[in-house]
C-alpha cells in the first residue's frame, strides 16, 4: 500500500520500527502514526463498535472522529491516527467496548503555565497568528494534538491560487514548513486542550504526555479547523469509507494509498483535487458522483480529472456501501430535481474505497464550551462562532480564525490568523507604529482574497456574522 513513485512527492522513509498488532509482528517507518502504519500493512479494521460489534476504522485521520481508538501498550481508547508508532509498541483492537483492567500512570501534579496569547491549533491560521503575535513581542504558546504542525497544509500538494503575498504559487506542503520553522520554538504538539474556564481570565486545561496542565492566557486565538462532513447511507460506517482529508493525509503525508480503486463522492474543489491526487498516486478513480445538477469546483480541476478518463456523474448520490468487514463496492443512484432517488438508475461500482468530499463543518466545540454565541450560517459550513471583523468572538479576549471561524481556504485562514493576532497585540498594548498599517493591509488582502466569484459565498457569510455581532453590541 506504500507509494514508491510519485510525480511530485518523494517520501524519505526513516528508520524501520517493529511493533505488534493483536499479537502479530509488523513493521512501520519512524514518523508514521499507528493508524497509517496499520493501513500500509493492509489492516483497515482497527476495533469493533460498542453495541453491535461493527467493524471500525478511521474516518478523518486527524484526531477528530475518534473512530480509530485502540488499546496501545495496555492503555485503552488511544487515538491511533494522531499517535506515532514506536519501537516495541503493543497495539490491540478494542472489542465491543470491553476494556481490559488497566492501571494507568499515577496522578501527577498539575503543572501551571502562563502566556499572553494562547493559540489552539497549529494549522495555517494558528501558525500565522502565532508568528505575528510573537513578532510584536507577545509571549505565545500554540497547542495542537497532531504529531505534525501545519494543519491541513501538510497534505496540500497543489500550488496555491490567491492574490499575492500569502504565498500564491507555492505548494501548501512548503508553506507549512516555512510557517513551522518560524514558530517551532513556541509550538507544543501532541497536546490537547480539553476545557476552558473563565474565572480569572482565560484558563485552559491541557493534556500532554498523560498529565494535566493549566494554562493561564490573557488572550486566546481558537484556530481548531474543521471536521469533515459525513453522509447518511447504508453501511456508511464501514472501514474504507474515508473523508477526503483522511485520504489526502494518508497519501500526501505518509505516502500510503487508501486502496486500489476509489469512488469519489462530491465534485466540489476538494473532491476534484483529491481525485486528481489519487490518480497521481496510481490509484484508480472509477468516478465522481455529485448530488447537485452541476459541478461545484473550478472548471480547471474538473477538466483535469475528466482528461484522465474519470467520469463525473451529476444529480447522482451514493445509495450504499457494500461489504461485511470493509468496503468491497458501492451503489449509486440518480436523483430527480426534488432529490428523490429514481428507481432503476442504480449503478454498482467495484471499489475498495469510498471517499467523501461533501463539505466541512467548523470545529466549534471549544467556542461552545466557553460560551461564545454561535450562529447557523450555511455559507460558512453551518454553526459558526459569531465574531467581529477583528476576529473577536462574543467572549472578550477570545478570537476565532481560519476554518473554525467559518469554512474558507488556507490563504484566507492565514490572513484571519494575522488579523486575530494583530487584534490581540493592540489589546495587549504592544502596538508599534507598524501595527495599524499592517492591520489595514491585512484587511485589504483578505478583502481581495474573497473578491472573486468563488469568494462570494464566504463573503456573504462573513457579512451575516458581522451583522449579528453588531446587533449584539447595540
Amino acid at each position: 500500500m506504500r507509494i514508491t513513485e510519485h510525480p511530485l512527492l518523494s517520501f524519505q522513509r526513516k528508520r524501520v520500527i517493529h511493533f505488534t498488532f493483536n499479537g502479530g509482528p509488523l513493521e512501520a517507518y519512524e514518523g508514521e502514526t499507528i493508524a497509517a502504519a496499520l493501513h500500509a500493512a493492509g489492516i483497515k479494521v482497527l476495533s469493533r463498535s460498542i453495541t453491535y460489534s461493527r467493524p471500525r476504522g478511521f474516518f478523518c485521520a486527524i484526531g477528530k472522529c475518534a473512530s480509530c481508538m485502540m488499546n496501545v501498550n495496555g492503555v485503552p481508547n488511544v487515538k491511533t491516527c494522531v499517535t506515532l508508532v514506536e519501537e516495541g509498541m503493543v497495539v490491540e483492537s478494542q472489542h465491543k467496548g470491553v476494556l481490559k483492567p488497566f492501571t494507568g500512570p499515577k496522578k501527577s501534579h498539575i503543572s501551571h503555565m502562563k502566556t499572553q496569547v494562547a493559540v489552539i491549533g497549529a494549522g495555517p491560521a494558528g501558525l500565522n497568528a502565532a508568528v505575528t503575535a510573537h513578532a510584536y513581542g507577545a509571549s505565545v504558546l500554540v497547542i495542537d494534538e497532531n504529531p505534525h504542525a501545519g494543519g491541513q497544509l501538510v497534505k496540500q500538494t497543489h500550488k496555491f491560487f490567491g492574490s499575492s503575498r500569502e504565498r500564491a504559487g507555492t505548494r501548501g506542503t512548503e508553506i507549512a514548513k516555512i510557517l513551522y520553522r518560524e514558530a517551532e520554538s513556541f509550538v507544543m504538539l501532541q497536546a490537547a486542550v480539553v476545557g476552558h474556564y473563565n474565572d480569572r481570565g482565560h484558563r485552559l486545561v491541557l493534556v500532554k504526555d498523560g498529565t494535566l496542565a493549566e494554562l493561564e492566557a490573557e488572550k486566546v486565538i481558537v484556530a481548531t479547523g474543521a471536521s469533515e462532513n459525513m453522509l447518511l447511507f447504508e453501511n456508511n460506517d464501514l472501514p474504507g469509507v474515508y473523508g477526503a482529508g483522511a485520504v489526502q493525509t494518508l497519501m500526501n503525508v505518509y505516502g500510503i494509498v487508501p486502496g486500489n480503486s476509489v469512488l469519489m463522492v462530491g465534485a466540489g474543489n476538494v473532491g476534484l483535487i483529491v481525485s486528481y491526487q489519487l490518480l497521481q498516486a496510481g490509484v484508480k478513480v472509477v468516478g465522481v458522483v455529485e448530488a447537485l445538477p452541476r459541478i461545484g469546483g473550478y472548471h480547471v480541476h474538473a477538466a483535469k480529472v475528466r482528461r484522465c478518463g474519470v467520469p463525473i456523474y451529476t444529480s447522482t448520490s451514493i445509495l450504499k456501501a457494500l461489504g461485511e468487514e470493509y468496503v468491497t463496492g458501492a451503489v449509486t443512484v440518480s436523483l430527480d430535481k426534488d432529490w428523490n432517488h429514481i428507481p432503476g438508475t442504480e449503478r454498482k461500482f467495484d471499489v475498495d474505497t469510498i471517499c467523501l468530499a461533501v463539505g466541512l463543518s467548523p470545529s466549534i466545540e471549544f467556542f461552545c464550551q466557553a460560551g461564545c454565541r454561535i450562529a447557523h450560517i450555511p455559507e460558512l459550513g453551518g454553526n459558526t462562532p459569531v465574531h467581529s471583523p477583528a476576529m473577536e468572538t462574543t467572549v472578550k479576549g477570545m478570537y476565532a480564525a481560519g476554518d473554525a471561524a467559518g469554512i474558507g481556504e488556507a490563504n484566507t485562514a492565514m490572513m484571519e490568523g494575522k488579523i486575530a493576532a494583530l487584534s490581540c497585540v493592540k489589546a495587549l498594548g504592544l502596538s508599534t507604529l507598524e501595527t495599524e498599517k499592517e492591520s489595514k493591509e491585512s484587511y485589504e488582502e483578505l478583502r481581495l482574497l474573497r473578491s472573486g466569484s468563488f469568494g462570494e459565498r464566504a463573503r456573504q457569510g462573513k457579512e451575516r456574522v458581522f451583522a449579528i455581532m453588531e446587533e449584539l453590541h447595540e
Binding site: K106, K107, S108, H109, N236, P378, G382
Partner: protein, 87 residues
Amino acid sequence: MTEMVCRCEDITKEDILKAIDQGYTTLDEIKHVLRCGMGPCQGRTCIPLITRVVARETGKSAAEVSRPTTRPPLQPLSLSLFAGDEE
C-alpha cells in the same frame, strides 16, 4: 439496513427517527435518551447529521435546531488523571 449516525455510540438513523416519534425533538433531548454526542468524538460527526434529520422530520430549518450543550472535557481523558494517587 444500517445508516450510522453516531459511530461512537452505535446510534442509527432509525434510532433517531424513533426518538423523534416519541417526542424528543431537540438535540439535547435526543442526546439524553440515546447518548449520541456523548462518546469520545463529542458529537463532531453526528451533530450535523442529527440536526439534518431533526430539521427534516420537524419541518424546521437547520438554523432553528439548537446545538446540544457542550461540556468539558472536549477530548476523552483517562480517569486516572483525576482519580489516581498523587505521586
